[in-house]
């Protein structure tokens, strides 16, 4: 099968994808606009040359996501897009240390930013999607990238990944929103993707100053929103815990994190209403 090669220009990184699975490009067109999903551009430097293809002599239809000689994982054709998206996360989380990388969603509105670090199942992506629908600009649903030089947060705009019940929640609250590539039975359960808002794509190179860090926890039996302020050292430790490359960066990582934390306020919220959580975040950003 001939290789199809195309670029994904997801500032600050450009990926070049080589695959013999022709439908991949069309599938990705549903979640990436033509401004970022392009034919190969020889005038661009490529950060990550990804091979998403069947291994040589393989009898299986599964594709392997690889970066040079490093294997990420196999993808059955039924779970192509989730594996592809996780593969991009793997590249950013493991093969760059230009930015301190924290597992968190980041959004911005009127110059104020909110960082939402949280473990899976905490409702981070749902809250992130709701904030975006409320007019916030999405910087990332997965990676809070902190520039080591100026301490600002760098966007890496990509689709929001919704999991399990959050798909139904978003469908109910926003019936006009199209959730693409809903894939059942992945190891994370059912996954679906929401494409970022127009404004998020348009401003996908604009950095923001850090302001607010919110550790969200969705609890269905929570009767009222519970908000606990966090000290700077609590924020530091929790962010370090959620970081992909804090330990690799050594002293630079410590200094970058310390500078970041000194510029933010943070709290933990336990909520069962996204609207209440959004109201609280907007109030703190005034």
């Amino acid at each position: 099968m001939p290789l199809k090669v195309f670029d994904l220009q997801l500032s600050p990184f450009t990926f070049r994808i080589s695959t013999s699975h022709a439908p991949l490009f069309t599938l990705l067109q549903q979640i990436y606009p033509s401004s970022v999903l392009t034919s190969t551009d020889s005038s661009k430097f490529i950060d990550f040359e990804v091979n998403f293809d069947r291994p040589p002599f393989s009898l299986s239809s599964a594709l392997a996501f690889r970066l040079a000689d490093k294997h990420f994982r196999f993808a059955e054709l039924s779970a192509l897009i989730p594996t592809f998206e996780w593969g991009l996360n793997w590249c950013v989380g493991n093969f760059q240390s230009r930015y301190l990388c924290i597992h968190a969603a980041v959004l911005e509105k009127n110059g104020f930013s909110v960082v939402l670090p949280a473990p899976p199942g905490s409702g981070k992506s749902t809250l992130c999607a709701m904030l975006m629908f409320a007019g916030w600009r999405l910087l990332s649903d997965e990676h809070c990238l902190i520039d080591l030089e100026d301490g600002l947060i760098v966007p890496c705009v990509r689709p929001i990944s919704l999991k399990n019940k959050s798909i139904q929640v978003v469908n109910t609250l926003y019936p006009d929103i199209n959730i693409c590539h809903i894939t059942a039975d992945t190891h994370k359960g059912t996954i679906g993707y929401v494409t970022p808002s127009e404004i998020s794509w348009q401003h996908n190179i604009n950095k923001v100053k850090p302001h607010l860090v919110v550790f969200p926890r969705y609890q269905h039996d929570q009767t009222h929103l519970n908000c606990v302020p966090l000290s700077q050292h609590q924020i530091f430790m929790q962010l370090a815990e959620n970081s992909f490359n804090y330990s690799v960066l050594g002293a630079t990582g410590f200094e970058t994190m310390a500078r970041f934390v000194s510029n933010v306020s943070g709290f933990q919220i336990c909520y069962n209403s996204g609207d209440q959580a959004i109201a609280l975040i907007e109030e703190r950003c005034r």
């Binding site: 070049r16 430097f45 793997w90 760059q96 597992h103 190891h187 050594g250």
Partner: protein, 367 residues
């Protein structure tokens, strides 16, 4: 010659001035695969060229720098553990290859990534050193019976050891080349010509002996996946060696280990690949032990290994056979090849199944 890394190491300033974006893309991709990002970072830093780079390219080199720095700290921690284990032994404990370069303070080792700690000790002390390491928690990891037997009967080292808690990898050697090779390489001079590390149980070979080891490793190896890295290492090691030691000392080291041929082929290759100036008198003396056929064979294979020519797959096979023939006789090679073919086939099938199971049952780190 398609290796962008070799082009860069050959003429850093010219490369930085002239490389196209497509070349930079290939360079970073190749350097990531060869674990050369950190080495290139320091090479360009030393040539005062970092400020001329595209910020994206600089970012990836910086990533290599960060990983090398982290590995340096991890190595120091591990060395403190090893100091305790070997503090009172009465035999030489010599650190070779990557860790040897790093602990010798060689400039080119600053950004270098290594995969394990290579410890060379006299053959007579092998059982004691092995027992000490096993007692301290360095254990053999999963390996087939055939591979284990290969290491013990034919190679120059014990099967690789991994610390059960810290995950540190250690190779315990009693020679630098397989005992089955009948190569006649002498190991005693390398154990004798060392520099003791300050307040340490460990020593490191002097630079000429480190270079002889690297040359033997390059000339007699059968693997190709880190060939570019080995070549770039050898070039920088030679430059550092020749800045401190005379060519006569390098010749003496080569002669004492009976490794003149390997050193000749290695230096000849450096001259050819990197247009490096190598003392002609030294080459002339070393070449007396070389063979024109072997020299041609090595250059032919390297030329195709380092390019995307139609013959590159053939060259991989040729390099593999050549390396094994040097390591063992024809009879042993035939036996080994048949056994290894079945072994590899079985293992690949198992690994593929395991990988799929693992992928299906585990979450990526961000899950």
């Amino acid at each position: 010659m398609n290796s962008e890394c070799i082009k860069l190491f050959r003429e850093p300033a010219a490369y930085v001035a002239e490389a196209t974006l497509a070349q930079w893309t290939s360079l970073i991709s190749e350097a990531r695969q060869q674990a050369l990002l950190g080495s290139i970072y320091f090479l360009l830093k030393d040539h005062n060229l970092l400020h001329l780079l595209l910020s994206s390219v600089h970012s990836h080199l910086l990533t290599g720098f960060h990983y090398a720095e982290k590995q340096k700290n991890t190595l120091l921690q591990e060395m403190l553990e090893l100091e305790v284990i070997f503090q009172n032994v009465d035999y030489p404990c010599v650190l070779v290859k990557g860790v040897g370069y790093r602990l010798s303070g060689l400039a080119f080792s600053r950004g270098r990534i290594f995969s394990d700690i290579d410890l060379l000790i006299p053959h007579t002390a092998f059982p004691d050193a092995l027992a000490k390491l096993l007692d301290a928690g360095y254990l053999e990891t999963g390996m087939s019976d055939y591979d284990r037997r290969y290491y013990i009967d034919w190679s120059h080292q014990h099967p690789p050891l991994t610390h059960f808690l810290r995950g540190a990898n250690l190779d315990l050697h009693h020679h630098i080349f397989p005992v089955a090779s009948h190569s006649g390489l002498a190991i005693a001079p390398m154990l004798e010509n060392t520099k003791q590390l300050v307040d340490s149980a460990f020593a490191v070979p002097t630079l000429p002996f480190l270079l002889v080891h690297a040359a033997v490793h390059l000339f007699y190896q059968e693997e190709t996946h880190k060939l570019v890295k080995d070549l770039c290492d050898l070039k920088q090691l030679y430059e550092e060696c020749i800045a401190t030691y005379s060519t006569e000392q390098l010749l003496t080291a080569s002669q004492s280990m009976r490794a003149e041929a390997a050193v000749y082929y290695a230096l000849d290759t450096l001259r050819w690949l990197f247009t490096l100036e190598v003392d002609t008198a030294l080459l002339s003396k070393l070449s007396q032990h070389s063979s024109k056929y072997r020299r041609w064979q090595m250059q032919f294979l390297l030329q195709h290994l380092l390019s995307a020519s139609a013959l590159s797959q053939f060259a991989h096979l040729g390099w593999y056979i050549r390396g094994h023939l040097l390591k063992m006789g024809v009879g042993t090679l035939i036996y080994h090849s048949i056994a290894k073919f079945w072994e590899t086939r079985k293992i690949k099938r198992q690994q593929s199944e395991m990988q799929k199971l693992l992928d299906a049952e585990t979450r990526p780190k961000d899950a």
